[in-house]
């Protein structure tokens, strides 16, 4: 039962992405092309999403716990460091090259569009490259402390 509800939530998200235009690279890139053919649509996507989520979260997070499960899983760290800023800026550069972001590309895999499939495969490769890089630098740090 719980999984059927989660499935329906995913469906609402996927439908929202489909209607919004977030999965259309031409639209996404034009939004950020302030010096060229600017299309302001995407500010309405993020604006409407936050206008719904912010009050929704405010009410939901006042409850003692979620409907299914023991507690809310919220990111514990409050750290604002070079990794957060550099990683996010890097993500932006890639987003500007491809025109897709992860949340927009995942739902539209089902359209079978070859660009979506190429992007999604590439970004999964990128996730694994980053995880290897993070593991390696952690090992090097450990080795340095040991010696």
């Amino acid at each position: 039962m719980h999984l059927v509800v989660i499935y329906a939530i995913g469906l609402i998200f996927g439908l929202g992405i489909s209607i919004s235009g977030m999965a259309n690279p031409a639209k996404v890139l034009n939004f950020f092309d302030f010096a060229g053919i600017w299309d302001p649509s995407l500010i309405f996507v993020m604006g409407a999403a936050i206008l719904v989520t912010a009050p929704g979260y405010f009410l939901v997070l006042k409850r003692p716990k979620p409907v299914f499960g023991n507690g809310f899983t919220l990111p514990g760290t409050k750290l604002i460091d070079r990794r957060l800023i550099g990683g996010s800026f890097t993500f932006g550069l890639g987003w500007g090259l491809a025109g897709f972001c992860p949340g927009a590309s995942l739902p539209v895999i089902s359209t079978g569009n070859p660009d979506v499939l190429i992007f999604t495969a590439s970004f999964i490769v990128g996730i694994f490259i980053a995880r290897l890089m993070i593991q390696r630098s952690a090992q090097q740090r450990d080795a340095a402390t040991a010696s």
Partner: protein
């Protein structure tokens, strides 16, 4: 470059649904609806129950465009103004960036901003800056 039409109504409706899904997931299961986090955990789950809910939400996500097809009679428009090489390099860079930055547009941009997380605010400004720079460089300096 491909010119696109200004579509504030569709954008707002789509955004509201994205927001609704984010609120529902927090209410029902207590999780942030971030595509990066959900996918990463799906590929390397901590338990079978952890894998199951991620599989369910991803299955729901890919059903979204099919429902759109059923209602609108066509798939959502996907117009790609960049080369395949750009798509591959961009994709790899996105994967690296979201892993180091711990989130993407859905996790930081919608969920994090909505709970007034300073961390997500900084992350969102950073990726908005990154894409603005890249679009300016590719279109107005290299003329691609």
């Amino acid at each position: 470059m491909i010119e696109t039409e200004f579509t504030p109504l569709a954008a707002s409706l789509g955004g509201a649904l994205i927001g609704l899904a984010s609120v529902l997931l927090m209410w029902v299961r207590g999780n942030i609806l971030g595509a990066t986090g959900i996918l990463t955990g799906f590929m390397q789950p901590s338990s079978s129950a952890d894998w199951a809910w991620r599989a369910a939400i991803l299955a729901g996500m890919v059903t979204g465009p099919l429902v759109y097809l059923f209602i609108a009679g066509e798939f959502p428009a996907i117009q790609v103004p960049v080369s395949t090489l750009s798509m591959i390099i961009g994709g790899v860079i996105v994967g690296i960036g979201v892993t180091y930055g711990s989130g993407c547009t859905s996790g930081h941009g919608v969920c994090g901003m909505s709970r007034l997380s300073p961390r997500s605010f900084v992350a969102t400004l950073s990726f908005m800056a990154g894409i603005t720079v890249m679009v300016f460089v590719t279109r107005h300096i290299f003329g691609l």
